[in-house]
C-alpha cells in the first residue's frame, strides 16, 4: 500500500470507499444541474415589477412580439442554479492555475469594490464632460502609470482586449506607413512561437505573414530574421518575453535591424507581467506594445473576459492613435473624439474604453506602487525558475534557463510511455490543479508551459511540483490506463469534442423539436 502526502492510503482499501452510485446522480457537493430552460415554471419571475401603466403603444409600423420563449423561475431557484454551476468551475480562488501565457494571478477584491463605486459604475459615457471629470482623471492617471512604467511617450486606452490592442498597434503602423506614402510595405515578420492572435491580426489587416524560425536557444534566429528584411517589410510582431518564457536577448539588434529596413517593431506585451517595473520597454526599441490589464494588472478573467488592452506608442507612432483619448488643459480634462491632430485614426469600439477594467487596474497599481511592482515581477520570475529547477530532473526542459515568468517543458520525458501531454494534464486535474498550457508554443513537441505567477506561496508550488513529479514517475512506470481514464474525480470526465464539432448543438431547444444541427 502506498501513502499519499496526507498520510492516507492512496488506493481504496476496500469496497466501502468506492464511489457509490446515487439515485439523483449527485455526488455530495457535486450536484447535477439541469439547464435553466428545463426548470421553467410558467408565469414565475424572480423580479417583482410594478404594474404596466395604461397606455396606447406607440410603435409606429412595428408590431409587438408574441412571445420570447424564456423560462420563469423564482429568485431562490435562480440563485441555486448559478451557485451550483459555479461549483463546477476551477478558479484562481480555488488553487494554483499555472496556465502559461495566460497569467492567472490573485484578483484582489478591493479592485472589485472600487469598480463598483457609483461614481464610476453608475456614470453614463455620454454625460456632459463637465459631469465626468473624475472618470477622465482616472483614465489620465492610468495612462500616466502605463507611460512611466514603459518609458513610452503615448498610450491609447481604447482597445477592449489584448488582441484588440494588437489590432490598434498594427493599425497605427499601417497609418504611419500610409502617412509616409509607403503602402507597398505589406509583409509582417512573425516568429513561429507567436500567439495565434499575432498572425491572425496581421492577416486580418491585409498584411502577409512571414514566419521566422526559432533558433536552438528558443529565441528568434537573428540571422534568419535579417535575411527576411526588404523594402516590402512593414514590421515585426515579437512577443517579449517570448512564449517559451525566455527573454529575447537580441531584441535591440532586432529593433535596430527592423528600423534600418524602414519597418516598425510591434511588441506583444502579453508577458509584460514578467518585467513590469524592472525593464524599460522604451529602451528595447519598441514602437508599439499592448498591455493586457487582465494579465499584468490582474483584472479578473471572468471565464473569458472582459479584457482590456491599452497600447503604448513610441514617438514615431504617437501621432497615429485611435480616438477617443483624454487630454488635460486649462479647463480640466476633456475627450478628443474627433481628429484634432489630423493623424489619428478612427474609433475601435463604442464609447471610451473598458472603464471598469481601468479602475481595477489602477487600484492594483496603486496598491503595489513602484516598489510592489518591482517585487511582483521579481517573485513571478523567481517562482517560475524555482518550478523549472525542481522539475529539471524529472521532466524535459526545452531550453536552458533562466526563464522569465514561465517555464517550458516538452514531451521527451514521456517518450515510449504511451502517455501524452494531454494525459498528464488530465491527471493533474484529479490532483486538484488546473493544468498548465498544453501544446503551445508550437515550436516544441507536446509543450507544457507553466506560469505560476507571483501570488503563489512556496508551499503551493511545492505541492504542485510533487504532484507533477509523481505523475511523471507513474507515466514512466507504464500505468497508461490510469492516465487515459483521467480525470475521474471531476463533475464531468473527458468530453467528446469531436462529436460536438461534427454535429454542433449550440442552443437548447424543447426536446419535442429536433436539435439544431448546423452542417
Amino acid at each position: 500500500m502506498t501513502m499519499n502526502s496526507q498520510g492516507r492510503p492512496s488506493t481504496p482499501a476496500g469496497a466501502d470507499s468506492a464511489v457509490p452510485e446515487t439515485v439523483t446522480g449527485n455526488r455530495g457537493l457535486q450536484i447535477e444541474e439541469a439547464l435553466i430552460f428545463e426548470q421553467d415554471s410558467p408565469g414565475m419571475s424572480g423580479v417583482d415589477l410594478p404594474a404596466v401603466p395604461a397606455m396606447n403603444l406607440r410603435l409606429g409600423a412595428v408590431k409587438p412580439r408574441a412571445k420570447v420563449g424564456l423560462p420563469g423561475l423564482s429568485e431562490p431557484q435562480v440563485v441555486r442554479h448559478y451557485t451550483r454551476l459555479s461549483q463546477k468551475n476551477y478558479s484562481i480562488d480555488t488553487g494554483l492555475y499555472p496556465l502559461g501565457s495566460c497569467t492567472m494571478k490573485h484578483n484582489p477584491r478591493l479592485n472589485e469594490k472600487m469598480a463598483r463605486l457609483p461614481g464610476f459604475a453608475d456614470v453614463h459615457p455620454l454625460q456632459p464632460v463637465s459631469t465626468v471629470q473624475g472618470a477622465l482623471e482616472l483614465m489620465d492617471a492610468l495612462a500616466h502609470w502605463l507611460k512611466t512604467l514603459t518609458g513610452m511617450p503615448a498610450v491609447t486606452l481604447a482597445p477592449a482586449a489584448g488582441a484588440h490592442g494588437e489590432m490598434a498597434g498594427m493599425m497605427a503602423i499601417r497609418a504611419a506607413l500610409e502617412h509616409r506614402g509607403e503602402k507597398a510595405r505589406t509583409r509582417v515578420l512573425v516568429p513561429e512561437s507567436a500567439h495565434g492572435t499575432n498572425p491572425a491580426t496581421a492577416a486580418a489587416l491585409g498584411f502577409s505573414v512571414d514566419p521566422i524560425p526559432a533558433g536552438p536557444d528558443g529565441r528568434v534566429d537573428l540571422a534568419a530574421m535579417e535575411a527576411k528584411l526588404g523594402p516590402d517589410v512593414a514590421g515585426i510582431m515579437l512577443t517579449n518575453p517570448n512564449t517559451c518564457g525566455l527573454f529575447e536577448r537580441d531584441v535591440r539588434a532586432i529593433a535596430d535591424a527592423i528600423h534600418a529596413a524602414g519597418g516598425y517593431f510591434y511588441c506583444d506585451g502579453a508577458n509584460f507581467n514578467a518585467i513590469v517595473g524592472r525593464v524599460k520597454p522604451a529602451d528595447l526599441g519598441i514602437d508599439a506594445m499592448h498591455i493586457n490589464l487582465h494579465k499584468t494588472f490582474s483584472t479578473p478573467h471572468g471565464g473569458g473576459g472582459p479584457g482590456s488592452g491599452p497600447v503604448v506608442f513610441s514617438e514615431a507612432l504617437a501621432p497615429f492613435v485611435p480616438v477617443p483619448y483624454v487630454v488635460h488643459d486649462a479647463n480640466g480634462f476633456r475627450l478628443v473624439e474627433g481628429h484634432e491632430q489630423g493623424t489619428e485614426f478612427g474609433r475601435m469600439k463604442a464609447f471610451h474604453g473598458q472603464m471598469g477594467m481601468f479602475v481595477r487596474a489602477l487600484a492594483y497599481i496603486l496598491s503595489h506602487g513602484a516598489d510592489g511592482l518591482w517585487q511582483a515581477s521579481g517573485d513571478a520570475v523567481l517562482n517560475a525558475n524555482y518550478v523549472m529547477a525542481r522539475l529539471q530532473d524529472t521532466l524535459t526542459a526545452s531550453f536552458e534557463g533562466p526563464c522569465m515568468h514561465e517555464c517550458l517543458f516538452d514531451d521527451r520525458f514521456l517518450k515510449g510511455t504511451g502517455v501524452t501531454t494531454l494525459d498528464i494534464a488530465k491527471a493533474l486535474i484529479d490532483e486538484g490543479f488546473h493544468p498548465m498550457t498544453m501544446y503551445f508554443p508550437l515550436v516544441v513537441h507536446g509543450a507544457l508551459l507553466i506560469e505560476p505567477t507571483e501570488t503563489e506561496s512556496k508551499a503551493a508550488l511545492d505541492q504542485f511540483i510533487l504532484a507533477l513529479k509523481s505523475l511523471a514517475v507513474r507515466a514512466k512506470e507504464g500505468d497508461v490506463a490510469y492516465f487515459q481514464g483521467a480525470p475521474r474525480l471531476t463533475p464531468r470526465r473527458r468530453l467528446d469534442e469531436t462529436a460536438a464539432a461534427r454535429k454542433p448543438v449550440l442552443r437548447w431547444t424543447p426536446s419535442s423539436e429536433p436539435a439544431l444541427a448546423a452542417e
Binding site: G46, V52, M55, N56, R58, L59, G60, R65, V68, G69, P71, L73, H81, Y82, S86, N89, Y90, S91, C102, L110, M114, P118, D122, V123, H124, L126, P128, S130, T131, E137, L138, L149, G196, T197, P199, A200, R278, P300, G302, G303, E337, G346, R347, M348, K349, A350, H352, M355, S367, G372, L382, P402, A425, S457, L495, E497, V505, L506, R507, W508
Partner: protein, 446 residues
C-alpha cells in the same frame, strides 16, 4: 506587500534551489540598457486598502452618478435596475476568477452558462444561433459586416444613417484598414432612406438599427427581402436589448445577422465599458461566425456536458487563416446578462419592456407640452428625439449645472450637425419627479 506570499526566507531557499545568487541574476538576458536598477523613480510606493480607497473615491466623487439625479441619457447605453442577485453571483470567485474554459472537465459552470446565454440571445433576437459574446455592440457590428463580406464574397457595406455613429465609425475604421468599402449615409432622424437602391452587385450587406439611434422603430421585413433578392445580407443592430421584450425581433423580420449591445441587462453603465456584444445568425452561416461558441456533447460516461466547439474557425488553431483575431470575449458581462434574464423570465422581461415603453410615451407627452419642443418620432421604444429652439448641447450643459442629465445632444454624436436635436431615454428607473424636474427646467431655459 499583501498580495505576495513569498517570505524572505522562501526567496533565499528558492534561489539556492535554482543556483542563483539573486533575483537580478535571473534577468541577465535583458540588455543592461533596459534594465532598471531599482523601483521606477517618481512613482509612489505600495499603499494599504484604506489609502487606495481614499484616492479612488476622491476621483469617483468628481463625477455625477446617473442614479443620483434625473437622467435621460441613452444612445447605446441605458440605465436599468439590476437585481442584487446578479452582482452577487458574478462575484463568486469560481465565475470571476476562472479563465476561458479550455479544460471542460473543470469548467462546466462557465460552459453551461455560455450555452444558456447563446440560447437566450437566440430567443431574444429571433435567430437560430448565437455566439458566446463579443467585446461590445459596435465591434459586433463591424464583425458582422466582415462576416457578410466572407459569406457573399463581396466587399461593400451600406450603413444606414440611423446607425449609432460609434458603430458606424468602428466599421469604417475596419473598412479602411482591412480593405472593404463602407458607404455611410448621413443621419436621417425622420427616415426615408432608400437603402435598396444602393444595393448593387458588389454589396455584401446593408446595416440598419432598430430602434435606430434617434429612437425610431422600424419594420425591416420588406428591406430584408429586397436585400436578399439582390444577394446582399441584412444586418440588424440593436443597442437596447430590453426592446426585444416588446418589438418584433430582427429574426422575424428576416435579418441574416444580428449584432447587439447587451449592456441593458445585468450590466452597469461603467462609463462605457465593459459591455457585452451579442451576435446571432441564421443557422446556415454558423461556420463563418467569429468568436467563441459553446456546444453540447457527452463525456466518457455518457453524461451531457459542454465544450467550446468549432474552434477551427479561431486564431489559436487557424492563426492567419482565422475568421477573426478575437481571443477574449465578454464572459463575465455575458454571465451578468444571463442571470438578469433568468431572474426576469418570460413574464418579467416582457413586462419590463412594456414599462420602459410606457415611461417613454409618458415623457414624450410631457415634453410635447413644453413650448418650443417637438417630438420627431412617430414610433419608438424607450428613447426618442425632440427638436429644441436652441442648440441642444447648450441646453444639456445648462441643465447639467442644475444636476439634471437631460439626454444626448445629437451633435455630440454627429459633430456639427443636427444641433437642435436632443435624444432622450426613459426606463423603469425614471420617476414622475424626474420628469417634473426635466420639464420644469426645460421650460425655464428655453
Amino acid at each position: 506587500m499583501r498580495y505576495l506570499p513569498l517570505t524572505e526566507a522562501d526567496r533565499h531557499a528558492m534561489l539556492a534551489a535554482i543556483g542563483a545568487s539573486s533575483v537580478d541574476e535571473l534577468f541577465r538576458d535583458v540588455p543592461p540598457v533596459a534594465r532598471r536598477s531599482g523601483p521606477v523613480e517618481g512613482l509612489p510606493g505600495f499603499a494599504g486598502e484604506l489609502e487606495v480607497e481614499r484616492q479612488l473615491a476622491a476621483m469617483a466623487a468628481k463625477n455625477i452618478a446617473a442614479g443620483t439625479v434625473p437622467s435621460f441619457v441613452g444612445c447605446g447605453a441605458y440605465k436599468h435596475h439590476v437585481p442584487a442577485t446578479v452582482d452577487y453571483m458574478v462575484q463568486r470567485g469560481e465565475f470571476l476568477t476562472a479563465y476561458t474554459p479550455y479544460q471542460p472537465e473543470i469548467s462546466q459552470g462557465t460552459l453551461q452558462v455560455l450555452f444558456e446565454f447563446q440560447t437566450q440571445v437566440a430567443l431574444l433576437t429571433g435567430m437560430d444561433v448565437a455566439n458566446a459574446s463579443m467585446y461590445d455592440g459596435a465591434t459586433a457590428c463591424a464583425e458582422a459586416v466582415m462576416m457578410a463580406n466572407r459569406l457573399t464574397r463581396r466587399k461593400k457595406a451600406i450603413l444606414s444613417g440611423g446607425l449609432h455613429p460609434h458603430y458606424r465609425d468602428v466599421t469604417t475604421t475596419d473598412a479602411h484598414f482591412i480593405g472593404f468599402e463602407a458607404v455611410a449615409l448621413p443621419p436621417a432622424p425622420k427616415g426615408g432612406e432608400d437603402l435598396v437602391a444602393l444595393v448593387d452587385a458588389d454589396t455584401a450587406c446593408v446595416v440598419v438599427q432598430n430602434p435606430d439611434v434617434f429612437g425610431q422603430v422600424r419594420d425591416y421585413t420588406s428591406l430584408a427581402q429586397q436585400c436578399q433578392a439582390k444577394g446582399a445580407l441584412l444586418i440588424v443592430v440593436v443597442t437596447e436589448a430590453v426592446s426585444l421584450g416588446l418589438l418584433t425581433p430582427p429574426g422575424e423580420m428576416g435579418a441574416d445577422i444580428v449584432a447587439a449591445e447587451g449592456q441593458s441587462l445585468g450590466n452597469a453603465l461603467n462609463f462605457g465599458g465593459p459591455y457585452v456584444g451579442l451576435f446571432a445568425v441564421k443557422e446556415k452561416y454558423v461556420r463563418q461566425m467569429p468568436g467563441r461558441l459553446c456546444g453540447q456533447t457527452v463525456d466518457a460516461d455518457g453524461r451531457r456536458g459542454f465544450v467550446l466547439t468549432l474552434s477551427t474557425r479561431e486564431q489559436h488553431i487557424r492563426r492567419e487563416k482565422a475568421t477573426s483575431n478575437i481571443c477574449t470575449n465578454a464572459g463575465l458581462c455575458a454571465l451578468a446578462f444571463s442571470i438578469h434574464l433568468s431572474l426576469l423570465g418570460e413574464d418579467g422581461f416582457t413586462k419590463l419592456a412594456r414599462i420602459n415603453h410606457a415611461k417613454a410615451v409618458q415623457l414624450a407627452d410631457r415634453l410635447t407640452g413644453v413650448k418650443g419642443v417637438s417630438v420627431v418620432n412617430d414610433g419608438f421604444f424607450n428613447e426618442f428625439t425632440v427638436t429644441l429652439p436652441r442648440k441642444a448641447a447648450d441646453v444639456v450643459e445648462e441643465l447639467a449645472q442644475r444636476r439634471i442629465l437631460a439626454g444626448v445632444p445629437a451633435s455630440r454624436l454627429f459633430a456639427g450637425q443636427l444641433e437642435d436635436h436632443l435624444i432622450l431615454a426613459a426606463t423603469e428607473t425614471t420617476t414622475e419627479s424626474d420628469m417634473d424636474a426635466l420639464t420644469k427646467a426645460l421650460t425655464e431655459v428655453l
